[in-house]
């Protein structure tokens, strides 16, 4: 599919070494717009809405930040551990800067159900429905999302 100049620029910014050392696309060779289209289809198959999931993740991350880097248990269901570094990262779509904060969310009693999110990855999810390429460090896998958020 043909991409707008905005997306072409974003895809360039997502390459390793541009904004982060490893980039946003992992070892995914599909174009940005195909990744988004595939994930939109996957999300709707699983009956998940981007906005709802993103705001729930955001709440979990905010709650987790209170632990100052220590794991926090929320509603006896989730264990959230956040890690912050100083400074900010720009969005690859060039629409803002985000704190370097990431959170690992896992289900209590089921460590195999784990999600890693960042302030930036939530923005990309909410605004662009972009869950990052396969194999990317902060890829949000829709099936895992359903499991972890218990939807």
């Amino acid at each position: 599919m043909k991409m707008s100049p905005e997306f072409i620029r974003a895809q360039r910014n997502m390459q390793p070494g541009e904004i982060t050392a490893d980039g946003f696309l992992g070892d995914d060779s599909r174009s940005l717009i195909d990744i988004i289209a595939a994930d939109e289809a996957a999300m709707s198959d699983l009956d998940l809405a981007f906005d709802d999931c993103a705001s729930q993740l955001e709440d979990l991350m905010e709650a987790g930040r209170r632990g100052l880097g220590e794991p926090v248990t929320i509603d006896a269901t989730w264990r959230v551990k956040t890690d912050e570094a100083r400074g900010v990262l720009p969005s690859p779509f060039e629409d803002g800067v985000f704190r370097k904060v990431n959170a690992t969310i896992e289900l209590v009693g089921d460590a195999s159900a784990t999600l890693r999110i960042t302030a930036l990855s939530l923005h990309l999810m909410k605004r662009y429905h972009f869950l990052q390429g396969l194999g990317a460090a902060f890829r949000i896998e829709p099936r895992m999302l359903k499991r972890v958020l218990k939807r």
Binding site: P16, L68, T82, D83, S91, E94, A137
Partner: protein, 374 residues
Amino acid sequence: MNTALLIAPLAISGLSAALAALISLTDKIVNNYGECIISVNGGKKELTVQGGSSMLATLAEQQIFIPSACGGRGSCGECKVKCTTDVGPHVPTEMPWMTPSDLKNNVHLSCQFKVKGDVGIEIPEYLFYVKRYKATVERITDLTHDIKEVYFKLPDGVSTNYKAGQYAQIEVPPYGKIKEPTQRAYSLSSTPNDPNHVEFMIRLVPGGIVTTYVHEHLKEGQKLDVIVPFGEFHVRDTSATMVCVAGGSGMAPFKSIFTTMVEDGSIDKRDVWYFFGARSVRDLFYVEWLSELDEKHERFHFIPALSEPEESDNWQGETGLITEVLDKYLVSDNLKDAEKEGYLCGSPGMLDACMAVMRKHDMEDERIYFDKFA
């Protein structure tokens, strides 16, 4: 026929030359802004410059280095300056980096507007003294499993002038998949009384461009660009009790501050409480040095706190989150009624949480100091 072969290229090159001349002539006339005066910080410094170049480049020519990681391409968003005169509307290339308050306060990226007349700008005063050096790595030490201490030697004969607590920018060259030099800010942990050296504590940030380089590629003897100093985090000259809180590599400015205080003797002249938060014993460092300070200097108190000590650690000290420990001590007899100043260094989340605790105990916002590297 032969002449035709000659005339065609001649005509084209002649016309192109004429047009190019016309363009550069217009450029000379239209873009000649003559001498402009940049008034910095309400007239504290007046610079007479040739107009027409970007503010960033113009200031660099005057030996004032606004922090910039991308070198003026508008892709890092770090070179913000506040303008006190109208320099035109915000351009699309700077919009991604503008917060609502930036827009309201006429803050611009200095690489994205040209000096076209007399302008007024406001920049932090320490920027007047910022210098760029090629520094040689003299020593790399492992402090913990994820924090390294890097000790740089500046070129011979050079001596820096900074206050303990300030930070510097380190620039690493392109490596691996990273194609451009990248700058990041780190607090100085060295003492200003050793002006030919600078030292940093650098924690590995997963996926971080500069920290990965420092941890995996940097070798002793190598040269890196260091730009020093920045920031307004330094000890205020009062007699108030210093309440210092740090976590992880947030130790760096405090190492610098306490070393300097020992050197000039001020460590015995005011009360200092230093709270250091870590998870377990393997995340602690410089404990012996700090405990020794605690024993030797009556008014210096070192309170390490572990949030999750392991059984094998045999930990006797405070346990719990640093905020809980801080909360407990701020109501203790020693600190409750003292006049206090807060000094913080650590992750943004820790800063926010500690600010909240300090506010709760009636410490004034204006007397809590930190560098967020925002």
